[in-house]
Symmetry: C2
């Protein structure tokens, strides 16, 4: 079974790269689908699950949180994290190749030896992308957009720090760090697929 | 003209990757050749030039050095840096495709839009590699080898900080960050070449 995991800076195009990689390889694709599955399993609202587990859910969680997994009365966040872990492991146990975006899946799926990618871009590229994809009622200035990007990434850094021993965005924590600056994501997808093909075919 | 520049952590196999990329593409290869050319042009000893410009030459140079390029009486290090810049620019002006390792060539050759790679590996891989390649009279313990690796990389970080506006090893400063851990460099070379081919063929 082949797994590609994608971690990414907000606005870098990592999600699009993941989706296109899945299209190009014909593999399954998981991203928001995980949140839907957790919400279904726990009979909770998707928006609530997303808020608890994604970009803004980690702001006020102390680093000591990792230990609280062992606590007698687990918090809702812990319950959802355990459920997330189970959902992702269940997907892996199905044995089909897949691409998964976010959720520190590279660490959760370590035993399956996924090919792990981190996607970044320079700030200008990220702001341009975010402005392009912003909904009508989310008109932010360039400065505000930059602040939003930095905040979300700080949160992802913090969440990974709490949940894993591996550092978010650290070059040595991933197999490949891809910079989407000056690339069309579609063309980049072919490059990443070619690289990943060599990885999965290697004999070493 | 196509240029690939390689920056790398000491012991990561970046030089071998560069050499193999040049072999695989049939492009010219530059590394120590630059030092030889500078020594020839300036009628100096190669070992001396290497010591001044490479791993250990930057330990005691203050950050304010960048300004000293404009100083009335340039230091020998400045003279050699200017010569290095000229040697590298002369190579580029020849118009032939090439691979170049080290020397912050990605920044020096910015106007030629090189494809820039940073090569890293986990400490275990780097130590193993360094022990394997160590000469008979350089038997270091694991701890000593780790210290040596960290020192050389600290020096490279410092040199780039002095000479450029770009941060050594920063994921956003390069087009691709390649982790050689768990790869045979020969197999990795095919992966990097496939990725670089897509980069040079892109229409965007």
């Amino acid at each position: 079974m082949k797994i590609i995991t994608i971690s990414r800076e907000f606005g870098s195009g990592g999600r699009e790269l993941g989706k296109r990689l899945a299209d190009l390889t014909g593999w399954d694709y998981y991203d928001k689908e995980i949140i839907t599955a957790i919400a279904d399993n726990k009979n909770l609202d998707e928006g609530y699950v997303s808020r608890m587990l994604e970009n803004h859910g980690w702001k006020n969680v102390p680093l000591s949180f990792r230990n609280s997994f062992a606590a007698a009365a687990p918090s809702m966040q812990t319950v959802l994290l355990v459920e997330q872990k189970q959902v992702i492991e269940k997907i892996a146990r199905e044995g089909k190749d897949f691409v998964i975006v976010g959720r520190n899946a590279d660490v959760l799926l370590q035993e399956y030896h996924p090919f792990s990618i981190f996607v970044c871009a320079d700030m200008e590229t990220k702001v341009r992308r975010c402005v392009e994809y912003a909904s009508e009622n989310e008109k932010l200035s360039r400065k505000e957009m930059e602040r939003k990007i930095r905040n979300i990434d700080k949160n992802r850094f913090h969440a990974r720090e709490i949940l894993t021993e591996s550092k978010w965005g650290d070059r040595e924590a991933y197999h490949l760090v891809v910079n989407t600056t000056d690339w069309d994501i579609k063309e980049l997808t072919s490059a990443v697929k070619a690289y990943a093909d060599c990885w999965f075919q290697r004999k070493y």
